[in-house]
């Protein structure tokens, strides 16, 4: 019974949990106050036109809470409703939350689980993505942190991938995937020779949590476990990382160097080889502890801008 509240220290998979279960496990018990909850019935005004069912929270849960005693604003996307995609209401809720976080001078925690923009309300969704990016930058410019947590079913794609790139820090688990164009999109546009979306192992070698951690695209790699995400989030929130021009310039230089160093690689495993990982072929089979030990010394360090 995954839905049931339990007091035992049973392992709960982040991947399998719903948005609400993730928030309940991540945040300090009983500290969460939801804004615009399901009873407000702020549903999508567009989905009914397509004969599609709405969800009362439009696939995102937002609110205020404590995390390790630290006051935060939190948002969690429900990856199983419309692939966690951004629609008009869904996006507006996140924009509002980030602006409220800035007004209150609080850090934000984003539980991202999204395929990108919802095609049935694409213009509104695209606008929302830009507004979210602006709101994240504004919040970070004030010295607050925006932490992204990625390990859900839908991964973090499209505009969600760009939003992830704007976060102060990212925490990822092995099932988590981060990219802008997803596997099927690349295959459709560039052909199966370029990217075989059916090759699950290849998808994870190029977009999966381990690869993103190794190339510095994510800062923290954790087990697919809600308590591991919670511990990593609390630790990450303890650091202060301002967003400045010099941080961005350093990041630009790092990305240029990365392209030069790995630009010819055709597969994630070639990148790991170039990084100096001993026996790159064994990386996908390693458990978290083995993986962190084997790669700590060689991974590309993520910096603040990413």
């Amino acid at each position: 019974m995954s839905q049931a509240a339990t007091t035992t220290q049973r392992r709960v998979s982040w991947f399998e949990a719903t948005a609400r279960q993730r928030l309940a496990a991540l945040l300090d018990p009983g500290s969460f106050t939801e804004f615009l909850g399901p009873a407000a019935r702020e549903i999508s005004p567009h989905l009914a036109l397509f004969g599609l069912p709405a969800q009362f929270d439009d696939g995102i849960v937002i609110g205020q809470a404590k995390l390790g005693g630290h006051e935060v604003f939190a948002a969690a996307q429900e990856g199983r409703f419309m692939g966690g995609a951004f629609g008009e209401v869904h996006g507006a809720k996140l924009v509002g939350l980030l602006r409220a976080a800035k007004a209150a001078s609080r850090d934000a925690v984003l539980l991202l689980d999204t395929g990108g923009v919802r095609l049935q309300e694409a213009n509104a969704g695209e606008l929302a993505i830009s507004e979210i990016i602006r709101a994240i930058v504004d919040l970070r410019a004030e010295g607050n942190s925006v932490i992204g947590l990625i390990g859900g079913r839908a991964g973090c794609f499209g505009g969600g991938g760009i939003i992830a790139g704007c976060c102060t820090r990212l925490i990822v688990s092995e099932p988590g995937r981060i990219s802008v164009s997803g596997p099927e999109v690349i295959e459709t546009n560039r052909g199966v020779e370029e990217f075989d979306s059916q090759d699950r192992a290849f998808v994870w070698r190029t977009m999966g949590g381990k690869h993103r951690y190794l190339t510095g695209g994510a800062d923290c790699f954790v087990d697919d476990d809600t308590t591991a995400f919670r511990a990593a989030a609390i630790e990450t929130l303890a650091g202060r990382t301002p967003l400045t021009v010099s941080v961005l310039e350093a990041e630009q230089a790092r990305l240029k160097a990365r392209l030069k160093r790995f630009g010819a690689a055709k597969d994630g495993s070639e990148v790991w080889q170039a990084l100096g990982v001993t026996n790159p072929a064994s990386v996908p089979g390693m458990d978290t502890e083995e993986f962190l030990n084997a790669t700590k010394a060689v991974r590309e360090s993520a910096d603040d801008a990413r």
């Binding site: 839905q3 719903t18 609400r20 909850g37 399901p38 009873a39 019935r41 004969g51 599609l52 069912p53 709405a54 969800q55 009362f56 929270d57 429900e78 199983r80 409703f81």
Partner: protein, 85 residues
């Protein structure tokens, strides 16, 4: 108030709210799958027979089968029995 489930294929969400009318249970079902009214009525009749007065239940259906509907209703009812709901 309680919310259970997700609007996904073969699943549904059900929002439970309290009303003042202890003698009635009001259920609203929103679904894109038409032609299943007798089935919904049968499942809901079974459910309200357990004594669900004073509840308003709003369902967004993603094409759930009757066993899933019964499961979500039972989960929601249990959450509403929690004194904090």
């Amino acid at each position: 108030m309680a919310i259970v489930g997700v609007v996904a294929s073969g699943n549904l969400e059900a929002l439970f709210e309290r009303t003042d009318d202890e003698s009635a249970c009001r259920v609203e079902v929103s679904t894109a799958a038409h032609g299943f009214q007798p089935l919904w009525e049968a499942v809901l009749r079974d459910f309200v027979a357990r004594g669900t007065g004073g509840l308003r239940i709003s369902i967004n259906d993603g094409g759930a089968r009757p066993d899933m509907v019964a499961l979500r209703l039972a989960q929601g009812l249990r959450l509403m029995q929690d004194p904090e709901a």
